[in-house]
């Protein structure tokens, strides 16, 4: 008794897998862009500049990490904007001093994010409401709550948080360390646990995942909770950076988070990609601003260049991976 012999299939070789990896493509793009930056501004090569860049990217990167988790399950999470806004005003209205207070604030931010995520998760996973619609509703409610807590930008974030989290010690910002740690955790979670694996499975084929024994609704619920916690962390980092609260703080992150996810090679139709890519995607977006500034692009057309670069970055990834795979086929 033996199975039918199998034709050998293309695409098994590692070279293709490597180039098809969106995170890698985004990384290459980042390096190229950084090169351009350095050409305009030699100061770019200093460690301080780099840490600054990482610092600036931290909130967006964390928000994008959360978004990635949801996108992997074939969802869109708009509640991100609301969560960041709430956390931002929370940090400014209820500052807690010292390291202990900082830790407590951080935990509270994660909890707030997780709780909001749980609401979205309930609606999407257990009530079957389309993610974009459900999270739109949640986002609007959160915006309202943020306005209730603080009706104009202001308040002051605990000094410990705003100084310790953004300071540079020996040319290295602890914030970046925290972000790296967060990403390591998220990566482990997505790639090395059953929860993560099932999120990929759900994103690709929810029906098959269910028939394979994956508890689809429950896992999807947790995706939103985790994503919410990431937004909470993003809000925390944002507060540390701006040292103040703003009931509208989350809005600018909405589209940018999707841009980071897409730049990082995660498929917006689910099941493919990862958080590392989104981290790099967020860094690319932040770097773009610097490069355009350094290149002295007329301010009227900075938007045009940003939009064009965004499309080009995606195109670049496509072309390289296509070239790689066609070279592979020979």
């Amino acid at each position: 008794m033996s199975l039918v012999p199998n034709e050998s299939l293309p695409g098994t070789r590692p070279s293709r897998a490597l180039f098809a990896n969106g995170a890698l493509m985004a990384g290459v793009f980042y390096v190229v862009l950084y090169g351009v930056y350095a050409a305009y501004d030699p100061g770019a090569l200093s460690l301080a500049t780099f840490t600054d860049l990482m610092n600036n990217a931290a909130p967006l990167a964390l928000a994008a990490a959360g978004q990635t988790i949801v996108v992997l399950t074939r969802g869109f999470d708009l509640s991100l904007a609301g969560t960041i806004s709430i956390v931002s005003v929370f940090m400014a209205v209820f500052p807690m001093e010292d390291a202990g207070g900082g830790a407590a604030s951080f935990a509270a931010c994660l909890a707030i994010g997780g709780a909001i995520g749980a609401v979205s998760g309930l609606l999407v996973a257990f009530r079957g409401i389309q993610s974009i619609a459900a999270t739109l509703g949640v986002m609007i409610v959160c915006q309202g709550i943020a306005l209730l807590i603080l009706n104009a930008p202001g308040g002051a974030v605990a000094e410990w948080v705003s100084y310790e989290m953004t300071d540079v010690v020996f040319g290295f910002a602890p914030a970046s360390g925290l972000v790296v740690l967060a990403f390591a955790l998220a990566w482990l979670l997505l790639r090395k646990t059953d929860l993560g694996l099932s999120l990929y499975a759900i994103g690709a084929d929810e029906g098959a995942a269910g028939l394979s024994g994956v508890p689809v609704a429950r896992r999807r619920f947790w995706a939103y909770v985790l994503a919410g916690a990431c937004y909470g962390a993003a809000g925390f980092m944002l507060s540390a950076q701006t040292a103040t609260g703003d009931p509208n703080a989350g809005m600018p992150f909405l589209l940018l988070s999707f841009a980071s996810v897409a730049l990082g090679g995660t498929s917006l139709t689910g099941g493919q990609g990862g958080v590392v890519g989104s981290l790099i995607g967020a860094c690319v977006l932040m770097l773009m601003q610097k490069v355009l500034f350094a290149a002295g692009v007329s301010s009227f057309y900075i938007g045009a260049s940003q939009g064009a670069l965004l499309i080009l970055a995606i195109l670049f990834g496509r072309l390289v991976s296509r070239a790689a795979s066609s070279g592979d086929a020979k």
């Binding site: 074939r74 869109f76 609606l123 009530r127 079957g128 409401i129 389309q130 993610s131 974009i132 619609a133 459900a134 739109l136 509703g137 949640v138 986002m139 609007i140 409610v141 959160c142 915006q143 309202g144 709550i145 943020a146 306005l147 209730l148 009706n151 589209l255 999707f258 841009a259 897409a262 730049l263 498929s267 917006l268 007329s298 009227f300 057309y301 900075i302 938007g303 045009a304 260049s305 940003q306 939009g307 064009a308 965004l310 499309i311 995606i314 195109l315 496509r318």
Partner: protein
């Protein structure tokens, strides 16, 4: 209490449901909107009148036009994030190229619309021919468009609304407000285009399964480009209408319409993943959102509570759609009946 366990099964129970879920959603949203208008005198005695309905219809007209295009794009499984910018461009070009001049209106307005459709087509080309994800392509094109408009105008948009547009938004036709006549006509044409034409059917097919559409010989590239071009056209038209309404353009006039254009489609019950949906649903979704806003505006609550309330009502409407509320009612009713029997 005894349960009738065995019922005589009807011979052929396998019929299509009399109303599809979509139709039920549309009817539900419409009823909800009508109910809200009817109940609005409770909030303020002057409400519930024709003038409120007219205001709602007038204000929803921009959203209806723009979300038709958005709905088509969503139907193909895409998303058009450039509608806000293209709408703004439509407004800016209308005031700068035509301005308060009736004479050039009929000659130049089509050029403006074609320009908007062209930007939409660019989205379509990027998506269908180059394979860039719609999200990124339209976001990028939106940013570029906004920035080019900024550069073109230098930040100040001169010019006023062409008189025919003022007439459209503020005048009467045969005793009826012309904007309402226009919107009704638009909806009829749009619905026909989506549900009753070969083009519309191809759009459904592409959204339902791109691969199956390819094998079935549906011209995917040209249809997709046309869809995005239509979206651009609608956004431009909507921008021109807004110019007629507010007698001028600004560079941010389209921004407030992006999320609602998506919300109208999705709240209407169409799938964000494409392949299903109906323009009637979108109309009901838009009406629902507009009525809700007008009611909440009259509520006298603070902005925080107002925002919370509008979010909660959207979530509530979605829960109704998902059958949760009716399920809860049914189970309560069953329990009550069970207790009675």
């Amino acid at each position: 209490m005894t349960v009738e366990a065995t019922l005589e099964a009807p011979t052929d129970t396998r019929r299509a449901a009399r109303f599809s879920g979509e139709a039920l959603t549309a009817m539900g949203l419409f009823a909800l909107s009508a109910g809200m208008v009817a109940a609005s005198p409770l909030i303020s005695p002057a409400l519930g009148s024709w003038s409120q309905i007219y205001t709602i219809l007038l204000l929803v007209s921009f959203l209806l036009v723009i979300s038709f295009g958005q709905g088509l794009v969503i139907l193909t499984g895409g998303l058009d994030l450039s509608v806000g910018s293209v709408m703004m461009l439509g407004g800016v070009l209308t005031t700068t190229w035509i301005g308060g001049d009736s004479a050039t209106f009929w000659g130049v307005m089509p050029v403006v619309l074609a320009f908007g459709a062209g930007i939409g087509a660019l989205n379509g080309i990027g998506v269908a021919m180059v394979g860039i994800p719609p999200f990124i392509m339209t976001m990028g094109v939106g940013i570029v468009t906004a920035s080019l408009a900024l550069g073109y105008t230098g930040g100040t948009t001169l010019g006023a609304a062409p008189p025919p547009l003022l007439l459209l938004m503020k005048g009467d036709i045969l005793g009826a407000p012309s904007v309402i006549v226009f919107v009704l006509l638009f909806c009829l044409v749009a619905w026909t285009l989506q549900s009753r034409t070969t083009f519309g059917r191809k759009v459904y097919a592409i959204g339902s399964s791109r691969r199956a559409a390819r094998i079935a010989g549906v011209p995917i590239v040209s249809t997709t480009i046309l869809v995005y071009a239509t979206s651009g056209l609608c956004a431009t038209l909507s921008g021109a209408m807004l110019v007629g309404y507010s007698n001028g353009a600004t560079l941010r006039m389209g921004d407030p319409y992006l999320l609602p254009s998506i919300a109208a489609v999705v709240v209407g019950g169409s799938s964000i993943l494409g392949g299903s949906g109906n323009f009637v649903n979108t109309i009901c979704g838009a009406l629902f959102l507009a009525t809700l806003e007008s009611l909440i505006a009259a509520s006298g609550l603070g902005q925080g509570w107002r925002t919370i309330l509008s979010g909660l009502i959207i979530v509530g409407a979605l829960l109704v759609q998902s059958g949760w509320i009716s399920g809860v009612f049914a189970s309560v009713a069953r329990r009550v009946r069970g207790a009675g029997g």
